[in-house]
C-alpha cells in the first residue's frame, strides 16, 4: 500500500536527505571490525559530531537495523575450554577440604528412597508425617490414628503411621511378587517426580495428572489405543499375540496407590466397583473407608509423600526382584491371563497336528468331545465374578 501523504504530513523529506557516507560506515559491522582504530580515533576527535550523529540516528530509528557483532568461533571454543577446565578442577579438588558429615539433602529421598526396613519414627517425624489438619476439619472416622491436639491441629500418631506404612509395603511387595499391575497416583502439584520414581522401581504405572473418569469402568473407550505387550515368566517379551492384543480389553490395575485420596474420589470409587484394592495416604480430614489400606499421614507435605511413595516403590522393587529370582528357579507365582493362550504359530502347529492325526473319525470324535467340553464349560463354573474378560 502506498502512503502518499506520509511525507507531506510528517515532513520526512528532511529525514530522507542523503546521509554522509562516513556516518553510514559507523553502522556497518565490517567497518567496526576492520577499521576500529581509525573510527575510534575519529570519534575521539569529533565527539561533538558523534553526538549529533547519534541524535540523527535515534530520530531515524536506524538502530533497528544495527546488529551487534555476533559471537565468533573463538569465543565458542573458549566456552568449551572453560567448561572442560571447570570439570577438571572439580574432579581434582573434590576430595580436598573438610569432610562433610551426613546431612539432609532434599533430593536424596527421590534419588535413593528409603526401604520399608528404614522406616523409623524419626524419619516420619522429620518428614512431617505427623501434622494433621485443623481440628475443625477433622473427620471423626480416623479418630484411632490421632495422637492428640496441639496448637489447633491434630497430630497423627506416628506409631500408627509406621505400622500402616509397613503393612502397605508388604501388600505392594506381595502384589508385585504375584505379577500384579500396580498403579501409583499422585495428582497434586509437585508429586509427579515421586510418583514416577515409585512406578519405575515397582515396574508399575504412574499417574500424575488428572484421572480420567471411567478409565477403569469404561476402559475400552478411554484406553483403547494404548499399547500392550505380552511377557513370559522371566519378563521377556513374547511374539505372536498381536491379533489377540488388538482384540483384548483394556487392562486394569491390580493395586492402586493413591497419595492424595481426597482429590481422587472418582478413582477410588471405580476401584471399589471393580474390586481393586487401594492404598491411600489418609490425613485427618480424609475418610479412611475410601481406601482398603489407609496410611495415616500428612498428605500436604511433599517430603512425607516422597518418603511414603519411595517406601512403597522400594517394596514393589523387592517383590519384582523376588518374583524374577523365583522365575529363574522355575517357580512362577502367577497364572496366565485367562484366555490368552499360546502364540499364533504354536496354536497353528497344534491345530495342524490335530487335523493330520490320521483317522478322520477319531478327529471327529475329538471334535465332538471338545464341543461337549466347551458346552459343559459354558454351563460349568458358576461364579459371580466369572468371565473371560474378568481378571
Amino acid at each position: 500500500m502506498i502512503l502518499r501523504n506520509v511525507a507531506i504530513r510528517h515532513s520526512r523529506k528532511a529525514l530522507a536527505a542523503p546521509i554522509p557516507k562516513s556516518l553510514l560506515r559507523t553502522l556497518t559491522t565490517e567497518a567496526l571490525a576492520e577499521e576500529r582504530s581509525s573510527i575510534e580515533h575519529s570519534i575521539a576527535n569529533h565527539t561533538k559530531e558523534t553526538h549529533s550523529i547519534e541524535a540523527n540516528l535515534n530520530q531515524l530509528q536506524l538502530t533497528k537495523s544495527f546488529h551487534p557483532p555476533r559471537e565468533t568461533a573463538e569465543s565458542k571454543a573458549g566456552v568449551q575450554r572453560d567448561y572442560a577446565l571447570r570439570n577438571h578442577i572439580k574432579k581434582r579438588t573434590s576430595r580436598l577440604g573438610s569432610r562433610i558429615p551426613p546431612h539432609y539433602e532434599p533430593s536424596d529421598i527421590l534419588t535413593d528412597p528409603p526401604r520399608p526396613e528404614d522406616v523409623t519414627l524419626e524419619l516420619l517425624m522429620a518428614s512431617q508425617a505427623h501434622f494433621g489438619h485443623s481440628t475443625s476439619l477433622w473427620n471423626p472416622m480416623n479418630q484411632r490414628y490421632i495422637y492428640g491436639v496441639r496448637s489447633g491441629i491434630h497430630i497423627i500418631s506416628l506409631e500408627a503411621t509406621a505400622a500402616h506404612l509397613r503393612r502397605a509395603a508388604k501388600v505392594v511387595e506381595g502384589v508385585a511378587y504375584h505379577g500384579g499391575l500396580i498403579l501409583f497416583v499422585g495428582t497434586r502439584k509437585g508429586q509427579d517426580k515421586a510418583v514416577v520414581k515409585a512406578a519405575k522401581m515397582a515396574q508399575g504405572c504412574h499417574l500424575f495428572e488428572r484421572w480420567i473418569p471411567g478409565t477403569i469402568t469404561n476402559g475400552d473407550q478411554i484406553l483403547g489405543n494404548c499399547a500392550m505387550r505380552v511377557v513370559d515368566a522371566k519378563d521377556e517379551p513374547l511374539r505372536g499375540f498381536e491379533q489377540k492384543i488388538g482384540e483384548w480389553k483394556a487392562l486394569r490395575p491390580d493395586l492402586v496407590v493413591v497419595l492424595n485420596p481426597r482429590e481422587n474420589y472418582v478413582l477410588l470409587h471405580e476401584c471399589g466397583l471393580n474390586n481393586i484394592p487401594t492404598i491411600g495416604v489418609i490425613d485427618t480430614d480424609a475418610d479412611p473407608t475410601w481406601v482398603t489400606y489407609p496410611i495415616p499421614a500428612n498428605d500436604d507435605s511433599l517430603r512425607c509423600i516422597q518418603v511414603i511413595a519411595g517406601v512403597l516403590g522400594r517394596a514393589g522393587e523387592a517383590g519384582q526382584k523376588r518374583r524374577l529370582e523365583d522365575a529363574e528357579n522355575g517357580i512362577v507365582t502367577w497364572l496366565p491371563s485367562p484366555g490368552l493362550g499360546k502364540p499364533k504359530d504354536m496354536e497353528e502347529a497344534e491345530k495342524e497336528k490335530e487335523e493330520g492325526g490320521g483317522v478322520v473319525a477319531k478327529a471327529r470324535i475329538v471334535e465332538d468331545e471338545s464341543e461337549e467340553v466347551q458346552s459343559r464349560r459354558r454351563r460349568g463354573p458358576v461364579d459371580p465374578e466369572d468371565g473371560e474378560d474378568d481378571f
Binding site: I2, R12, A199, E209, A233, L238, P253, W334, G339
Partner: protein, 314 residues
C-alpha cells in the same frame, strides 16, 4: 512364601490368583498351584474347585499328546508405564525430555536471544506424530522443555539432546529462509522484481538523471493515468531522489494499476540496494511491502465474490 497375610480382597484383585476358566488347569499346573500356593490362600475354595474340574483334564489328556499339557505362561502388561494417563506416548515424551533437562542442567547456556532459532512442530503435526489428541496446553509444556534444551551452548550440546531436539523440529525450517540480498553489479545497476495483483515488474535502477522507461516507453506513454505515473516512481519521489536515478522497467500481466504498483515495489527494493539507510523511510512510504490482496474468488450462490442475488418475494 509367607503371603498368608494377603487378605481376601487383594487375592480377588490379583487377576491370576484364581481362574474360573478351566483351560489352564492341567496336571502340571495343578501340581504347581498345590505345591506353591496351598499355604498362601488358606480359604481358596474356588481355586480348588476350579482345579478339580474333571472335564478339563479329560480334554487335556485327549489332545495333550504334543505339549504334554504344559502350561504356557504369558501375561499382558502395558507397553508404557504411562498407560493409565490415556496418552502414554505424550507422557513418555514429556518425561524423557524432562529427564534430559535434569541430566544436563549444569551445562552452560546462552542467552535466549542468542539461541539458534528453531521452529518446533505445530500441535497438529505433533498429534499426527504420536497419534493422540494432545491438548494445546499440554503440548506447550513440551515446547517449553524443548526451548530450555535449545539454550544449551551450541558447542557443548550433547548428542542425545540433539537427537531429541531433531525429533521435534519442523521438517522445513522457516528461519533458514533468508531473503536474497540484491547486489549492485559492475555497471551500477540494481535489479529487483516486484509484484502486485497479477502483474510483475522487473526493474533496473542505476544512478542517473531521472529517466524512466517502462517496457521501452516513457512514463507518460506507459501509464495513462497520472496517479499510476506517480505511484510507479513513488519510491523515488518519497525519498526525493527522482533526479538521481534512472529506471528501466519491464512489466508483465495485469492491468495498469497492478503494473504501476509492481514497479513501485521493484523500484523500492532496488533503491534499497543502492542506499540501505533508506529502509525506514521506504517502509513508511509503503514501498517495500508486498500487497498480498488478490481478486477474491466467486462463490456458488453468490453473484460475485460476496454479492448475493436480489431478494425476490417468490
Amino acid at each position: 512364601m509367607k503371603v498368608a497375610w494377603l487378605p481376601v480382597s487383594i487375592r480377588e484383585g490379583l487377576r491370576c490368583a484364581y481362574s474360573p476358566r478351566p483351560t489352564v488347569f492341567n496336571s502340571p499346573m495343578r501340581r504347581c498351584v498345590l505345591s506353591t500356593s496351598s499355604n498362601q490362600f488358606s480359604t481358596s475354595t474356588r481355586l480348588r474347585a476350579g482345579i478339580a474340574a474333571p472335564e478339563i483334564q479329560f480334554k487335556e489328556e485327549g489332545d495333550g499328546r504334543d505339549g504334554e499339557g504344559k502350561i504356557f505362561y504369558a501375561r499382558l502388561l502395558p507397553e508404557s508405564p504411562s498407560y493409565f494417563t490415556a496418552q502414554p506416548a505424550f507422557t513418555d515424551d514429556l518425561l524423557a525430555l524432562q529427564d534430559l533437562v535434569r541430566k544436563y542442567s549444569r551445562l552452560p547456556v546462552v542467552k535466549p536471544s542468542e539461541a539458534p532459532r528453531v521452529a518446533w512442530r505445530s500441535l497438529a503435526e505433533y498429534r499426527n506424530m504420536v497419534g493422540e489428541s494432545v491438548k494445546a496446553s499440554k503440548y506447550h509444556k513440551v515446547v517449553e522443555v524443548l526451548r530450555r534444551l535449545n539454550l544449551i551452548h551450541p558447542s557443548l550440546i550433547p548428542h542425545d539432546v540433539t537427537k531429541a531436539l531433531n525429533e521435534y523440529k519442523r521438517d522445513v525450517n522457516p528461519f533458514q529462509n533468508v531473503p536474497k540480498i540484491i547486489p549492485v553489479d559492475e555497471f551500477g545497476r540494481a535489479c529487483a522484481i516486484g509484484r502486485r495483483k497479477t502483474s510483475s515488474a522487473k526493474v533496473y535502477v542505476v544512478e542517473g538523471n531521472g529517466e524512466v522507461l517502462v517496457n521501452g516507453k516513457t512514463l507518460a506513454e506507459a501509464f495513462g493515468r497520472i496517479h499510476d505515473r506517480e505511484s510507479a516512481i513513488w519510491a523515488l519521489k518519497a525519498t526525493d531522489r527522482i533526479d538521481k536515478y534512472n529506471v528501466f522497467a519491464l512489466t508483465r500481466g495485469g492491468g495498469t494499476t497492478g503494473q504501476a504498483e509492481a514497479v513501485t515495489l521493484a523500484v523500492g527494493k532496488a533503491l534499497l540496494a543502492h542506499e540501505p539507510a533508506l529502509k525506514p523511510a521506504l517502509r513508511r512510504a509503503g514501498c517495500i511491502t508486498r500487497d498480498p490482496r488478490r481478486v477474491e474468488r466467486k462463490k456458488p450462490g453468490h453473484v460475485k465474490a460476496r454479492k448475493m442475488p436480489a431478494w425476490v418475494k417468490r
